[in-house]
């Protein structure tokens, strides 16, 4: 028997209500505690197949967990561990990263905003700004390694930029606590923006989007609120 890991939460959550949450396989969700964090797990058999039913089931369990815990870090579908002991060791090893991320998402949820190119238009590739051109001269004289790293940094900055969202920036500023951007190179989908907002601000977010959508020059599709799937720390090291 393995343990399916659904989410990592801070120690401050309503354990009494957790007894009413079951995992996708029907087994009761329980907590595995390590320091200031807890992992919420349920027993399951073997590897999980990514069926539509299983994926929706995983999301449903994470949502139920979010109701009893103010700070939730969803764990990617299909993550199994063999024992509580293994999990505690992992949580201990990454405790600093997890605690920082939990502080960020505390009492927040995620809205996912996708921008599509309008029919008859082509999505222009993300342009580097004027500041990047100013950097070109010193870069040319730099060592190949320095030049490579500078290029990587510039590419990363472009990937994280979203000038298409400028019409929303001022309106969203009071409620968007953090933003993640994923740009898409192919197809009509131009970019996906993940916005972290207070849990009580969902209606405000949607209202502001409706008010300013006409200025976007793109078709905007929003979904949410979601548990903060896009605001988890990178733990691979």
């Amino acid at each position: 028997m393995s343990l399916c890991v659904y989410a990592i939460v801070g120690r401050r959550f309503n354990r009494r209500l957790l007894i009413r949450v079951n995992g996708a396989s029907g087994a009761r969700v329980r907590s595995v505690n390590a320091g200031a964090t807890s992992a919420l797990v349920a027993e399951c058999k073997g590897p999980l197949s990514p069926t539509v039913r299983a994926l929706r089931g995983h999301d449903a369990v994470v949502r139920r967990i979010a109701r009893v815990a103010p700070a939730v870090l969803p764990v990617r579908f299909g993550t199994l561990v063999d024992s509580d002991r293994s999990l505690v060791a992992l949580l201990d090893a990454w405790s600093d990263d997890l605690e920082k991320a939990l502080a960020l998402v505390d009492r927040h949820c995620q809205m996912t905003l996708r921008l599509f190119a309008l029919p008859g238009t082509t999505a222009p590739p993300a342009q580097s700004g004027p500041a990047d051109k100013a950097d070109e001269a010193p870069e040319a004289a730099a060592l190949p390694g320095t030049s490579y790293l500078a290029g990587r940094a510039r590419a990363h900055a472009v990937a994280q930029s979203a000038p298409e969202l400028e019409p929303l920036r001022e309106a969203f500023a009071p409620i968007v606590a953090s933003e993640r951007i994923a740009r898409h190179d192919q197809g009509p989908l131009v970019l996906t923006a993940y916005h972290l907002i207070p849990r009580g601000a969902v209606a405000t977010y949607r209202r502001l989007l409706r008010r300013h959508a006409a200025a976007l020059q793109h078709r905007a599709v929003v979904s949410g609120p979601w548990p903060p799937y896009a605001f988890v720390p990178e733990l691979r090291r």
Binding site: S2, V5, I8, L17, R20, N22, P47, L48, S49, P50, T51, V52, R53, L55, R56, H58, D59, R63, R64, A66, R67, V68, A69, P70, L73, P74, V75, R76, F77, G78, T79, L80, V81, D82, R85, S86, A89, L90, A93, R107, C109, T112, T192, Y194, R199, G200, V202, A203, S223, G224, P225, W226, P227, Y229, A230, V232, P233, E234, L235, R236
Partner: protein, 89 residues
């Protein structure tokens, strides 16, 4: 007229936290993007020891599955149920 108490749907309950996660418009694209492509990746192996003596070998059975990886499996048996369900949908 007799008034019936409003009951939560099976498997749900009233949230003690003002969450708003109930008002959900969830497409399959969204579920795949969030559940398979986002979220914490717990992977790796750890050996915990004291004074050069290994005490715990942490074995992770994690199937770390991203959308890219899952799709690259093509006709792999693990993905076939997903394809079948999508065809039916």
């Amino acid at each position: 007229m007799r008034r019936h108490a409003r009951r939560n749907p099976p498997g749900t309950f009233k949230s003690p936290v003002p969450m708003g996660l109930d008002e959900v418009d969830v497409s399959l694209l969204d579920v795949i993007d969030h559940v398979l492509n986002q979220g914490i990746v717990l992977s790796g192996e750890l050996t915990l020891g004291v004074a050069d003596v290994d005490l715990i070998y942490v074995r992770l059975l994690a199937l770390v599955c991203s959308a890219d990886r899952a799709l690259s499996y093509g006709a792999a048996p693990a993905l076939s149920p997903l394809k079948a369900e999508r065809r039916r949908a």
